[in-house]
């Protein structure tokens, strides 16, 4: 298919501390535009490790990673930063908002960095994303004044600001109660269904995984399904 957004070819990853361990073993898969994919597996099977590689933050691996048809190997730190900025949105288990800034500014930062739009346009777009997630009234608050669920929604808005090709999440609901988890899940679902947003979400939550389009199951550094 020509719509492949992300492709992993034979990705292997070793950790050397304290002894050489192969954490990822020959990972091969691809994600098409509009896919809503869940990655599941036992704790310690290498899900997070894989996600860090796919997100270009970890460059110490074997095999090939293509994002938007482009090979990531051999790119400079600056180029990778640019790709993360432009094409990848992140949502982590912990919200990682910058407490020095307002909610709106937090959402705007990656947009300002991209520099594609003027500052006011970025602000408008950020407001739009907050509205889409139903938290437009929080815009002027400081990031540390929010609840966990609200923070996670702000993090999603931030991930969306540059209209990324793919949103990656590492247990984005892992730190939330049931109600908030559901809200976040519904947001992902809506993003996938209504806006055709491509999503790759690592999760422990079987219920969450079952409701996605596709599940990648891992065990001991391999994809088993």
């Amino acid at each position: 298919m020509s719509d492949i957004i992300l492709e992993a070819r034979g990705i292997c990853k070793y950790f050397y501390d304290p002894v050489k361990v192969k954490v990822l073993n020959e990972i091969n898969f691809s994600i098409n535009k509009g896919d809503f994919v869940a990655v599941t597996g036992k704790s310690g099977c290498g899900k997070s490790t894989l996600l860090y590689i796919l997100s270009t933050m970890d460059t110490d691996y074997e095999g090939e990673l293509l994002i938007d048809g482009e090979l990531m190997k051999g790119k400079k730190e600056k180029q990778l930063a640019r790709i993360r900025n432009e094409k990848i949105g992140f949502v982590f288990q912990f919200h990682y908002l910058l407490n020095e800034f307002s909610v709106l500014k937090n959402v705007m930062l990656p947009g300002l960095k991209l520099g594609k739009y003027s500052d006011t346009e970025v602000a408008d777009r950020a407001m739009e994303k907050l509205k889409m997630l139903g938290i437009e009234n929080l815009g002027m608050k400081k990031a540390n004044q929010l609840s966990g669920g609200e923070k996670q929604r702000v993090a999603i808005a931030r991930a969306l600001i540059n209209d990324p090709l793919i949103i990656m999440g590492d247990e984005p609901t892992g730190n939330l109660d049931k109600k908030n988890s559901e809200i976040v899940f519904d947001i992902f679902k809506e993003l996938a269904e209504r806006y055709k947003q491509t999503l790759l979400i690592v999760t422990h939550d079987q219920g969450f995984a079952a409701n996605t389009h596709r599940i990648i199951e891992m065990e001991d550094g391999k994809i088993i399904k």
């Binding site: 933050m57 993360r84 900025n85 432009e86 288990q93 990682y96 908002l97 020095e100 960095k113 590492d170």
Partner: protein, 419 residues
């Protein structure tokens, strides 16, 4: 590069930790303040001490030293003239200290483009008679106006008007120390005896205080005419020509040239007072060393603050990097923080340094040795401010550089995984 964004983020990080950054900035302010004050004060003091001697020393002095004649008769004879002749017990020839043909020399010097001006002088050793006691002293015959213009004579006359020397006939200005010895007051008449045994009476019209006590105990001043009269010499008689140049550095070369040209001895200021430059140099060196030490200490303060800030902001750095900021961006953010501290602290430091030196400039400083000085001396040289501001920026840059580089190397994976 989006500098606006970088400044914006730097500002937010700074304000979030404004107390610590303030402390760091105060460190810079303090050191720059001290740097400026110390240098202004030290240099002021240097100038003062140098001026004590250098202001009053001509750049080149022409005179006739008493010494054996170079042209001994035997060397002029046909028979032995070419031999190497050993002559024992040579005596100095004619004790004439007069500069020969002084009028023509002065005229030619006035035309020299290097010469700012010249002041002729007669040095006459005399005895001051005080009852039965004779005090050895010197009367300097001077041209009051030129001596004041070129060698600041008027600044050292503490009592009386120097121009009265010209207006009152047979008048004299005594060194303060000499006057005290003679118990002479203004308007009194002092009696002197020349080396030839002639007696003269001179009216005291002022006191002179040079700052060098020994000097003041022997020296006195009168006009050229008065001294010529005392010595019984014609009015072309002059023993010294004091030359002030536009460029003091040319003095040694010109002194050599004048010796050749005029056949008189010439001494330049550098040879006469070489020890002064060394003293000034060492004092400046100490001030710079102290100032720079203070700055380095302030630099460590900034280094600490930034390290702490980076340690605290690991999460923020990780997320900035995860969302597309490069290592360079992160480095710039922290460098901007460091330089802001330096710029802010440094500017305040310059201002406070100026204030503190102006305060010192107002503090009374009266000493018998320095009659013209009433407050502590300060040199407001803009160069100190330039050096201070450049150093504050350089040290803060260096202090910021290593923490900033550390921040740029933060691996977001390690931070995010660490949670």
């Amino acid at each position: 590069m989006n500098y606006k964004l970088i400044f914006n983020i730097a500002k937010s990080l700074l304000l979030a930790r404004w107390k610590q950054t303030l402390v760091a900035a105060i460190g810079v302010t303090f050191s720059i303040t001290m740097f400026i004050t110390l240098l202004s004060f030290m240099t002021g003091l240097n100038d003062l001490l140098d001026g004590l001697i250098l202001n009053r020393t001509p750049h080149v002095r022409l005179f006739n030293d008493i010494k054996p004649n170079k042209h001994q008769p035997i060397n002029s004879t046909v028979t032995y003239g070419k031999d190497y002749n050993f002559i024992n017990s040579i005596k100095s020839s004619s004790s004439r200290q007069e500069i020969y043909n002084s009028g023509a020399i002065m005229e030619s010097l006035t035309k020299d483009v290097n010469v700012m001006g010249l002041a002729p002088k007669i040095i006459a050793p005399v005895f001051f008679n005080d009852g039965s006691i004779d005090i050895t002293g010197v009367i300097n015959g001077i041209d009051v106006e030129e001596e004041s213009r070129l060698l600041h004579f008027n600044e050292y006359v503490t009592t009386g008007n120097p121009l009265d020397l010209k207006n009152v006939s047979n008048s004299i200005i005594l060194g303060k120390g000499l006057a005290d010895k003679l118990i002479a007051n203004i308007g009194d008449v002092v009696q002197i005896t020349t080396s030839k045994g002639e007696r003269f009476q001179l009216k005291v019209i002022g006191f002179f205080q040079s700052g060098l006590l020994e000097f003041d105990k022997t020296q006195s001043f009168a006009t050229l005419g008065t001294v010529q009269k005392i010595l019984g010499k014609p009015n072309s008689y002059i023993t010294d020509i004091q030359v002030k140049l536009y460029d003091i550095k040319k003095a040694p070369a010109l002194a050599r040239e004048y010796t050749q040209l005029y056949g008189a001895d010439a001494e330049d200021i550098q040879t006469a007072n070489s020890q002064f430059e060394t003293g000034s140099f060492v004092r400046s060196l100490i001030s710079y060393a102290v100032g720079i030490t203070l700055l380095v200490v302030a630099g460590f303060g900034i280094y600490n603050i930034l390290n702490m800030m980076i340690y605290e902001k690991m999460d923020s750095i990780a997320i900035l990097k995860a969302t597309g900021f490069s290592g360079t961006d992160v480095k710039r953010i922290f460098l901007v923080i460091a330089l802001t501290i330096g710029l802010f602290g440094g500017t305040l430091g310059l201002a406070f340094g100026f204030l503190l030196s102006s305060v010192i400039d107002q503090i009374p400083f009266n000493t018998a040795a320095l009659p013209t000085v009433t407050t502590y001396p300060i040199n407001y040289n803009p160069v100190f401010y330039l050096i201070g501001s450049s150093f504050s920026l350089i040290t803060t840059y260096l202090a910021g550089f290593f923490p900033a580089r550390k921040a740029s190397k933060v691996d977001p994976v390690i931070i995010i995984r660490g949670k």
